[in-house]
Amino acid sequence: MQGNDMQAGQSGSGRPTPSARPIISIRGLRKMYGSFCALSGIDLDVAEGEVVVLLGPSGSGKSTLIRCINLLETYDAGTVVVDEVAVRPGPNLAAVRSEVGMVFQSFNLFPHMTVLRNVALAPIRVRKLAPKAAEDRAMELLTRVGIAEQAGKFPGQLSGGQQQRVAIARALAMEPRILLFDEPTSALDPEMVGEVLDVMQSLARTGVTMLVVTHEMGFARRVADRVIFMERGQIVEEAKPDAFFSAPREERARAFLQAVLNH
């Protein structure tokens, strides 16, 4: 449904093939919470346009990993390079962050602003867009995620699924080259999961690089270019989704899949 307008202009040729150049490059990333090791030496390259789904039991470090990419989480050792710029505290940070959109589990919309203002604010403040232009663009994005008619409402008046779609539009408004999804459907009622996944699936076809932490196995299987399985702060297995879901190499990945698929 909403996905169809998004594919327009791509003439149905499917998603562009990921290029070889890594847009995200992570080396030796370590993160401690006190004595608990959240990430123990992660190395990861993500190609431009690639859709990577991170799977694993809770507490395995998936969310922490993607939160390190825009430095919402600080880390103890290692490097994160986004589009050849090292992500570190300092004057460049906001610029890097504006290239990396993020969608949160709990939406985190701004409750005191209308839906339209939520989407238009960052382009006005960060990209210095004229308010009128930003609002026109916001309206386009809201149409794209199928909630244009809600533009004048406040987030509290929307359903969870609608709020999350606004959050996706808000992230898209900055025209990011990378989108991070931190369990975007985990806080939703089951009947609203589909509408959000549909939007994400159609986004994946636009060539934006996506890192998705999720427990939606069907989405991972259908949409991912690569599945990464994490446990205890380490990447245990990386594979194409077909290979991963039909025949995971690692015992721990097998056990995890068995647990989540057979319930």
């Binding site: 825009n70 949160f104 960060v126």
Partner: protein, 223 residues
């Protein structure tokens, strides 16, 4: 009849009215100025305490605690009577403004800090993830939400500052209370005092009522 002539003497009230109104003007000027200065100081203090250099945060906490602990009257007397010994001679009005603002800033800082800390972390994270600058994050996202939370306690604080302006009569400032006591001495009748009390109540009662209404309003608004 005697009681009415003593406490509610119309003629005495009428004759002392110009004096009382002058006092009311001084009280309002002092109160509003102290409230504004206290708000500005409180905002700066709250931001410094929350986001300033950690090495200095003890300093702001010390200020905030000290000026909430000291009785305003004591502070006022120190500013007016003690500071001249170190060469700092302030007028009664300036002394009162200083004392009231210093204390109000401490209370405002605590109220604002609580308001800012009540904003969920996700609001900060969403702002940062969008690449908003610190000032945009505070000005567009955090403070507008914090203001809604702090309006009722902030209004209470304003009421307190307004009431505490009466202490300024101790340092011979011609505020409403001082003018009323003078008019009382002149007329040898306490009616001006009653008139002053009525003016305080008429001024502050709507604000007191507003606190309750606002609290109810915001309680309903929060999902």
């Amino acid at each position: 009849m005697d009681l009415i002539d003593t406490f509610f003497n119309g003629r005495v009230l009428w004759e002392s009215l110009p004096l009382l109104l002058m006092g009311l003007g001084t009280t309002l000027t002092l109160g509003i100025l102290s409230i504004v200065l206290g708000l500005v100081g409180g905002l700066v203090l709250a931001l410094l305490r929350l986001y300033g250099p950690p090495a200095l945060s003890g300093l702001w906490v010390l200020y905030i605690d000290l000026f909430r602990a000291i009785p305003i009257l004591v502070l006022l007397v120190i500013v007016y009577y003690a500071l001249p010994f170190v060469g700092l001679r302030l007028s009664p009005f300036a002394s009162a403004t200083t004392a009231l603002s210093l204390v109000s800033a401490a209370y405002s800082a605590e109220i604002l800090r609580a308001g800012i800390q009540a904003i969920p972390r996700g609001q900060f994270e969403a702002s940062q993830a969008l690449g908003l600058s610190y000032w945009s994050m505070m000005g567009d996202i955090v403070l507008p939400q914090a203001v809604r939370i702090v309006i009722p306690p902030m209004t209470s604080n304003c009421i307190n500052v307004m009431k505490d302006t009466a202490l300024a009569s101790v340092v011979a400032m011609p505020d409403l209370l001082k003018q009323a006591t003078q008019a009382q001495a002149l007329a040898a009748n306490p009616t001006p005092l009653i008139g002053a009390a009525a003016m305080y109540v008429l001024l502050l009662l709507p604000m007191v009522r507003a606190v309750g209404t606002l609290e109810k309003h915001f309680a309903r608004e929060r999902r």
